[in-house]
């Protein structure tokens, strides 16, 4: 096959894959503007009516709960994930590899296992009752990993002597944090935090087992679909969630690219090259 042929077929395949991923999302987004209660194609009657209905429904309190859970879980993940990453990347201690493994495992475990385990532990063993915090704990199990992975990768890529160099040049602790540590870690933290929030925001399985009677937004959607009522409102909420999830993930991607290591590199400088050129200590 000619090079031109290869390029065209690659472009076609890429377009097909993207279409496959996005067409359903676009359709549900369009349905949010569909007038009749029964869904039919093509959309006959465009309206913003259902947005108003959605705003007045209990979807709003579900959204509020989801936002609070997401923010708290993300905050917790930022603190715990950064601390764990710093310990693992910077210090050698007994069981270091085990810590890494134990942190990452909950993300790989099926959510239903994590969910039932937390359900037993929190509500049976510890005899707590479901609350905002029980949901937060459930979400933190996977949010911590996301931050941890991002920060560990960043620390491994940067020289361990950076902080010493800053002190050596006369900087006090605050200056070292502000001029060196924060700029080096910030993009990794923001990216990890955004991913964590996005994941928390649409989590269903673990939440089902830790929320009790409370409804986060995804659970509210699930309930309403099951009951077959309020489908137009579900469409509106789905539209909202798509937008609300896309934005942080896009930002996160941009952050990861824009690490400062490779920004304005003016050439095909990749992170791989960077990693290869700095000798590992």
């Amino acid at each position: 096959m000619t090079q031109r042929g290869t390029r065209i077929s690659l472009a076609v395949w890429t377009a097909l894959v993207i279409a496959f991923l996005w067409i359903p999302l676009v359709i549900i987004a369009l349905y949010a503007f569909n007038g009749p209660t029964l869904q039919g194609w093509p959309i006959s009657n465009w309206t913003l009516h259902w947005f108003r209905v959605a705003w007045d429904s209990d979807a709003r309190s579900a959204l509020w709960l989801s936002l609070r859970v997401g923010l708290i879980a993300t905050g917790l993940a930022l603190v715990l994930g950064t601390m764990a990453a710093t310990a693992v990347a910077r210090f050698r201690f007994f069981g270091r590899e085990a810590v890494s493994f134990l942190l990452v495992l909950p993300l790989a475990l099926p959510g239903i296992i994590t969910g039932i385990a937390l359900n037993r532990a929190l509500f049976s063993t510890l005899a707590l009752s479901p609350s905002l915090w029980s949901i937060v704990i459930g979400h933190a199990t996977f949010c911590v990993v996301l931050v941890y992975n991002n920060v560990v990768a960043r620390l491994r890529r940067s020289s361990p002597s950076l902080l010493e160099a800053s002190q050596d040049l006369g900087a006090d602790g605050w200056q070292t944090f502000r001029f060196v540590l924060w700029p080096v870690l910030s993009t990794a933290l923001v990216a990890g935090g955004l991913l964590a929030f996005a994941l928390s925001f649409d989590e269903v399985i673990v939440t089902t087992f830790t929320a009790g009677a409370q409804e986060t937004l995804p659970i509210w959607i699930l309930d309403n679909i099951e009951r077959g009522q309020q489908l137009p409102v579900v469409n509106v909420v789905a539209f909202f969630v798509i937008v609300a999830t896309t934005i942080p993930v896009m930002l996160a991607q941009r952050m990861m690219r824009d690490t400062g290591l490779i920004r304005r590199a003016g050439g095909p400088v990749t992170e791989a090259v960077e990693a290869a050129e700095i000798p590992a200590i």
Binding site: E164, A165, Q167, L169, A171, V184, A265, E274, P279
Partner: protein, 365 residues
């Protein structure tokens, strides 16, 4: 006075004078005091759990000296450097800089700067921002520190690269940025931790000459860590040979090379040519041994076991009839590689002048 004269002088002289004024050690924030060592370690000891990294090190480094800590990896040389910088607190002993005890002073408050082995350039800052960092955290105004950074970048032959990011530079350029970032602060003592370790041979040799020149011009005390004995011999005014956390010998390069005081030094600085005869252990440098035919006069008889042709010279390993072996180096003045290699298995006689042998202590005594 100054402006009156300066204006009439040719421009170039004024620039040179300016450079001297800004870079010469007289402008250092901490003035070297005559007679007081720039660095003094007394009884320094540093352990990590059971491992003794540095055991009871005493060291005096004079102001303006190029002093090398030489030793294999794990011998304690880098830990000693880090104790001087303040990154390691000694378990025992004292660190003095310019006669002032700084054992409990934080790295940021010590009048030393470090060139790190991996350069440790701040990846998110430009070259100029990296170089200015030390001045910035001390609160120097932007215009002043910018001009000082430019000056120093010129000095390390990186003019006009201030706006680049470290990742856009080659290894050799990064090395010089690290150097510039340290000397812009005009420290009386500069610590260098294997600064040329990551460079290729050719660049390393260029940088050795450059560093030595720089050290002479700035008249700063250099404390230089390396495991490369050739580097240590060519660059240092004096050097300390480290082994197993302690100093085996301190002296000038010629001193250490020609009068090794222990078997370890003899082997690490040069080739280990140790011979035991009549209860005495002596060392002879390979280039000081004369190798003749077996019939040719007196000396130790032996057989050439191995011949290594290394271009300028040929290295022979000779098994001696009286026990032991010696390495002999001969210049290839008239010998071709074939001729040299054909000498394997030949019977020879080795002789040397008695003043070229040095008695060393027995291992473990």
């Amino acid at each position: 006075m100054r402006s009156g004269c300066g204006l009439k002088r040719p421009h170039r002289v004024a620039i040179i004078e300016h450079r001297m004024a800004t870079l010469a050690p007289a402008a250092s924030e901490t003035e070297p005091v005559a007679g007081v060592p720039a660095v003094r370690l007394s009884g320094v000891r540093r352990t990590y759990g059971e491992v003794v990294a540095v055991a009871n090190v005493d060291l005096e480094i004079a102001a303006g000296e190029f002093f090398t800590l030489l030793g294999p990896s794990g011998s304690g040389k880098t830990t000693t450097l880090r104790v001087i910088a303040g990154f390691e607190r000694p378990d025992a002993g004292h660190v003095e800089l310019q006669g002032v005890d700084v054992t409990h002073v934080a790295p940021a408050q010590r009048a030393v700067n470090t060139v790190f082995q991996d350069y440790a350039l701040f990846p998110h800052m430009t070259v100029a921002e990296n170089v200015e960092y030390g001045l910035r955290v001390k609160g120097m105004p932007k215009s002043e520190r910018r001009s000082r950074a430019e000056e120093v970048l010129d000095r390390v032959r990186l003019p006009g690269l201030g706006d680049r990011k470290p990742v856009q530079l080659s290894g050799g350029q990064r090395q010089r940025v690290a150097l510039a970032r340290a000397i812009v602060n005009r420290p009386p003592v500069l610590l260098l931790d294997e600064p040329l370790g990551a460079l290729d041979l050719k660049l390393r040799q260029e940088m050795q000459i450059f560093l030595k020149e720089l050290q002479r011009e700035l008249a700063i005390t250099f404390v230089y860590v390396t495991h490369d004995q050739e580097e240590a011999l060519t660059m240092s005014d004096r050097l300390a040979v480290f082994n197993a956390g302690g100093i085996e010998q301190t002296g000038t390069p010629a001193d250490v090379y020609e009068h090794p005081q222990s078997e370890f030094v003899a082997g690490f600085v040069g080739v280990s040519n140790v011979l035991e005869r009549g209860g005495r252990r002596v060392t002879i440098r390979p280039e000081k041994i004369r190798m003749t035919d077996e019939s040719g006069g007196d000396g130790e008889a032996g057989t050439i076991r191995e011949v290594v042709y290394v271009g300028m010279v040929t290295r022979y390993v000779v098994d001696l009839d009286g026990g032991g072996e010696l390495v002999v180096v001969r210049q290839n003045l008239e010998t071709s590689s074939q001729e040299a290699l054909a000498e394997q298995g030949k019977r020879v006689r080795l002789s040397w002048r008695p003043e070229h042998t040095y008695e060393i202590e027995k291992e473990g005594t």
